[in-house]
Amino acid sequence: MDFYGINPAVLIASLMVASVPIMLAAIGELVVEKSGVLNLGVEGMMIMGAICGFITAVHSGSQLLGFLGGAAGGAVLSLIFILLTQVFLANQVATGLALTLFGLGLSSLLGQGYNGIKPPPTGMVPYGPLADIPFFGRILFTHDWMVYASIAVVAAVWAVLKYSRAGLILRAVGESHDAAHALGYKVIRIRVMAILFGGAMAGLGGAYVSLVRVPQWTDGITAGAGWIALAIVVFASWKPWRVLIGAYLFGGITVLQLNLQASNSFPIRIPVEYLAMSPYLITILVLVIMSSGRGKASLNAPAALGRNFHASR
């Protein structure tokens, strides 16, 4: 059942793994943007998560502690963003870009001496006979637990935003911070918590890259995944389940281009460079299409997105 040397079950299984980092980072950023904050520092927070998670895992020998360390690393870096945008009311776009550059530099500094080390191995989930189901067993029951955890996070975010009062308040703050303030909600406090969550999720995604996907540390290991995560939030028009679809789509393109590079039987020879740039090209294309329509996609954007709140009088 191979197409030009590519097995679809293997392809789907590996795209599920490939999409975990961008899915986690995107669902975190979705919560941040739903609260009305645009944090462009996802890439920086991811790579900080990658190195902090890697260091924790190497020293503790525990992968779980590694993931927690990664989440903490991303959240700590987002504290800088919180201080600048929520306390000093700095411009969110500029601060987010600075955060990415800072994160890239700091992670490279922290990562000195960690090149070429192996992190503790991934604990596989014991599936028993489930993994032997033809086709679907290969797709659904061959993964490490983080794959399922990331889907659970998407489900949890969806449920909280849709059904809980906390989610309603979060959406309200992102829709109109002035009105939320007038009703007595603590706009800054809610946004701070959302940004911390976003930072933690980005960090978790980064840790997955350095602990499971690659798994080792090199400078710039996230390679633009944070930017793709930002694009997915727009692509998903701020809806949690569409983040999952978007992440699988982009993860799929990444995996597919790797497979096409390796495949010898594919009829058309495409230069490797074009394949390597394809996920980013598709990202740009999707963003252009989504924002040109000024239709439903742009309508669903949180109305207060990117605007700083200052309680006047």
């Binding site: 309603l168 009105a179 009703l183 007595g184 909600y185 009088r313």
Partner: protein, 511 residues
Amino acid sequence: MTADVLLSIEGISKSYHGVKANDDVSFSIGAGEVHALLGENGAGKSTLVKMIYGLVKPDEGRMRLRGADYAPAEPREARSRGVAMVFQHFSLFDALTVAENVALGMDNPPPMRQLAGRIREVSEGYGLPLDPTRLVGDLSAGERQRVEIVRCLLQDPKLLIMDEPTSVLTPQEVNILFGTLRQLAAEGTSILYISHKLEEIKALCDEATILRRGKVVGTCTPREKSAREMAEMMVGATLNPPERAAAAPGPVALTVRGLSVASPSAFGTSLREVGFEVRQGEVLGIGGVAGNGQDELLLALSGEIRTAPETVRIHGRGIGHLGPNERRKDGVCTAPEERLGHAAAPDMSLTENALLSGAVRRHLTKRGFIDWARTRAFAEGVVRTFDVRTPGIGTAARALSGGNLQKFVLGREIMQEPEVIVVNQPTWGVDAAAAAFIRQALLDRASAGAAVVVISQDIDEIMEIADRFAALNEGRLSAPVPTKGLTIDQIGLMLGGAHGMHEAEVSHAHP
């Protein structure tokens, strides 16, 4: 008598950066009383009610609610003590449903399905029907206000604060609102009613406290005073209504024919087949409730939205395809409603703002270079003639108060001596004295031979200065009629009546 006092305010003061917003304010509200708080913009009304609602803490003084000390630290506490507030600028969320909006204003809302049922029940009980599942962004201004009121009523308040509730309503919707408020007062709920519309206060309120520059300058029983007496207490000076020399209108200056424009904003209203003409020396008033196409009409007339050449004509020449600066050259000047960010660039100085609009007609540029001397002279002229209170023409537009910036924006357009001038909400948020001045300036421009189009939601304003009146309703413009002899009921009908209301419900809510 003391047993009946619900809320008493004793010697409240509040300063911002050394400016006293409230200075030793004292008054009390009885149970079941409709109490008016009267005052100009900046008189300190909003600050006072924000303190009652717990959004702001007073510097001095104290409040007592039903005999017990009352010092709410936050709105939640105020709500739990039975104080509810309907905001001047609605505190609603466009992208959320009616039920979600109501839930956000409650501290312990029931589950959504149950809440939806209660919203239906309460809203119909008070003659304010609402569908809990609709998005608030799709509602009319009157319906949006109902959401706010129902949100308050669901919490069974003892005191309902209403901050300028009628500024966006049609006369019929005002009647329905007053019916609801009277019903509430009869049930024992006290209402603190903030407004500067004196006729409404006379019709509704039992007692009034008048504020001027943060101080209580008097109390009165509105039914026993004339609107003029109250206005003069409010302003602290005698007021002169605007006047103009009667003159026969000249030839047609502005013609609009079959103007259909899609709205550029998601929640906007598209214009449909709008047509009218305005003669030289004539003032056309275009009324309508906010969001019925006013902004789109101004954009189409200013040139920010371009149309087919023949849809907009000046002296018979089609200009529909021209942009704003080309239209200015042809003598069309416009002033949009939004002062900051549309009429003026907030962070640029008054000089620069004067240049942006006045460059073409006042020849403020030469071969692409700015003639700063001329520009400064122009800006200074506007500031002097229109009595704009500002430290200087180098001040950023953002730093001016709303009324002063409005005077500057209007003055900037009028002093370009346009042949056609279109203004949207020329006196929105401007105090009575400045409003009178602006209206007089518009009339003077008409007397000098310009065609003037005033788009306004303030019916009194249109009646005061317009020669003819047309109503804008859901993007359609009615045929203009002379304002002389027009009654408020006729205007209400032209404006489309109460949105979504049946005649039976109107009379039911109006005992």
